[in-house]
């Protein structure tokens, strides 16, 4: 068996090939980074973030996108599905016991019948 090669029965995969790939990518990244200019003047406008021409807020909170806004389109598109899922996650212990009882009954029926 070749070192690092995983045979799945349907194909194979080699971890070291990927590591070589990442190493080459890293070399390219560092090369491009080193090609950048380092003679900018620290502490001047050259060193500032461009924020649409406006003054950059001091606290990051004012320019950050909150996590609750992430994947808004995805959750909005699936809102009926999410409504159903959230209605099942009631947080009420007796509901959870009910799910356990119903699932057990269903499993029993499937196995016994």
């Amino acid at each position: 068996m070749m070192l690092g090669t995983v045979q799945s029965g349907f194909g194979y995969w080699n971890v070291y090939a990927w590591i070589v790939f990442f190493a080459l990518a890293a070399v390219l990244v560092f090369y491009f980074r080193s090609a950048g200019r380092s003679d900018y003047k620290v502490g001047t406008y050259q060193d500032e973030i461009f924020y649409g021409g406006n003054p950059v807020p001091k606290d990051g909170d004012e320019i950050a996108v909150p996590a609750s806004s992430a994947y808004w389109g995805f959750t909005e598109a699936l809102s009926p599905f999410y409504k159903l899922l959230l209605s099942l996650h009631t947080g009420i212990a007796s509901d959870y016991v009910g799910y356990l009882v119903v699932t057990t009954a269903l499993i029993s029926a499937l196995i016994v019948l």
Partner: protein
């Protein structure tokens, strides 16, 4: 006499000693030393036991007998004593669980400095370790129930450890309520089999197993109860509450403890019932549990705004891969051609995912604990820019998030690849669901990375610093394990996963190890 013959007993005795002596260590420094030494000893014992099983095959240990190997004394037809039976699957689970237990304990040392009652924490932690390891190494159904209860009771205390927060008490109560019902179901199942066969030993029952109505009812009770304990959808509701409210070291360890229930489900399905199962219903139930767990939980994870709660849903989702992989293996169990074509690969994928998940999800929970320790919040809407202040934690998070998302070359990819390709042979929709789950997993961890670690610096976190060294050491243990599993996939499959999958398939070998030991 070679002391290593007592490894199965020591695996339980050492953490039990750790638990019962812990209340005597009121001094914090002594308590920390005791905690570290005893949990390290347990891990070393688990490693030695795994190595012994690898070289000698199934290890059988009879407690209280005149001979540690004599399972059938004085012409008895059935084994009666407390018997531990450690095959490659048991040893694999014990090794995986004890590594996570060690990492969680080291991480928890500095956490305990911020609270009182640390010795109670240590005692419960050791009890949880003993319960988990006992479940994974016992050869007896009733003892399995006893260890399940030991682990459960310790879990109730640890989940509610921040007892001044009502959410923690509520989470513990919900888990206790569901666990008690599940434990009763397991006990009734054990009682049914004892009534039918007059035996509690798994191998002895398996040898006589004839699938009638009582056996089917018992199996249904086992499957439902253990699926609840391992957090399979739709019985997963306790998981987000419990994992998010427990201290981070406990959340990390609870992943492995839940896997002990998964172990029980697989052990009973393969080793106790195994080839007596004349219906594919059980395999399909496990596969459907897997698909539901993967998809529903990851969809729920995407919308979470609290780091540990999001990770808890992912713990459920990742359990789905294990259920799918091993479920496909169970489906192929009585069909040799299907087993050789895709069943065994699926089992290898599912079992490899067990150890992969234990390591990267454990590390993810520890990084969440580090974020909370340093910043005082886990709210993704408030977090941000922490990569500047916590570079080591950031690296740990990136590696473990890549692993859980199944990004090559990290370990999660290999196990998922095996599950994808083998489940495709059963039905393409299984693979599609698994792939979609993986994409959504990546999406939700990109969200956590972006929200907590990237972005502009927040003024309120200007004083935040990297967590203490012992917490980094705890995380590093799991990081090293992830890197080892990632960069040594052939070794992992041939030495760790392959023998474990083979042991699970080899029901005759499991039975013979007990039934021949009396000769």
């Amino acid at each position: 006499m070679n002391w290593q013959i007592h490894l199965p007993a020591l695996l339980i005795a050492v953490p039990l000693l750790g638990a019962f002596a812990a209340p005597a260590f009121a001094n914090r420094r002594l308590r920390d030393v005791w905690f570290t030494v005893m949990i390290a000893a347990t891990t070393v014992i688990a490693f030695l036991l795994w190595r012994r099983v690898g070289t000698e095959g199934i290890v059988v240990y009879v407690m209280g007998g005149e001979n540690w190997r004599l399972t059938l004394p004085s012409g008895m037809k059935l084994p009666i004593r407390i018997i531990m039976e450690v095959d490659a699957f048991s040893a694999f689970m014990a090794l995986s669980g004890s590594i996570v237990s060690f990492a969680g304990a080291i991480f928890s040392l500095r956490f305990l400095d911020r609270t009182t009652g640390g010795e109670k924490f240590v005692a419960l932690y050791f009890l949880l370790t003993a319960g988990m390891l006992g479940m994974e190494t016992t050869g007896d159904l009733f003892n399995f129930f006893v260890f399940l209860e030991i682990a459960s009771v310790a879990s109730y205390g640890l989940i509610a450890f921040w007892r001044n927060t009502p959410e923690a008490i509520e989470a513990s109560f919900k888990y206790m309520l569901l666990s008690t019902i599940a434990a009763l179901m397991v006990l009734i199942g054990v009682g049914i089999l004892y009534g039918r066969y007059g035996a509690l030993n798994m191998a002895a029952i398996a040898k006589s197993m004839r699938l009638g109505l009582p056996e089917k009812v018992a199996l249904a009770l086992f499957v439902a109860a253990l699926a609840m304990k391992c957090g399979a959808v739709p019985l997963h509701m306790w998981v987000p509450d419990a994992y998010s409210q427990a201290p981070a070291g406990i959340s990390c360890f609870l992943v492995s403890v839940s896997q002990a229930s998964l172990y029980g489900l697989f052990r009973i399905s393969f080793s106790v019932y195994g080839r007596a199962l004349d219906t594919p219903a059980v395999a399909w139930i496990i596969i459907v549990f897997g698909i539901l767990s993967m998809f529903i939980a990851v969809v729920m994870a995407v919308i979470q705004k609290e780091v540990k709660r999001l990770m808890a849903y992912h713990a459920v989702s990742q359990t789905g891969y294990m259920l799918l992989g091993v479920g496909v293996g169970l489906l192929a169990l009585t069909h040799p051609q299907a087993m050789s074509e895709y069943g065994f690969t699926a089992m290898q994928g599912g079992i490899f995912h067990i150890i992969n998940h234990a390591m990267y999800k454990g590390l993810l929970f520890l990084t969440a604990g580090s974020i909370f320790y340093a910043s005082g919040t886990l709210d993704l809407n408030r977090l941000g820019g922490l990569a500047r202040n916590m570079p080591y934690t950031t690296v740990m998070f990136v590696v473990s998030a890549a692993a859980i998302a199944g990004l090559p070359p990290v370990n999660g990819f290999v196990s998922k690849l095996l599950v994808y390709e083998s489940s495709f042979a059963v039905h393409p929709i299984l693979t599609v669901m698994a792939l979609v789950t993986s994409i959504l997993t990546l999406a939700s961890f990109v969200k956590v990375f972006q929200s907590a670690f990237l972005g502009p610096a927040r003024a309120r976190f200007s004083e935040v610093r990297e967590v203490p060294r012992s917490m980094l050491v705890g995380m590093t243990v799991l990081l090293v394990a992830i890197l080892w599993l990632s960069f040594m996939p052939t070794w992992s499959l041939s030495k760790l996963v392959g023998p474990a999958a083979q042991a699970l398939v080899d029901q005759a070998g499991y039975i013979e190890a007990i039934m021949r030991s009396g000769l």
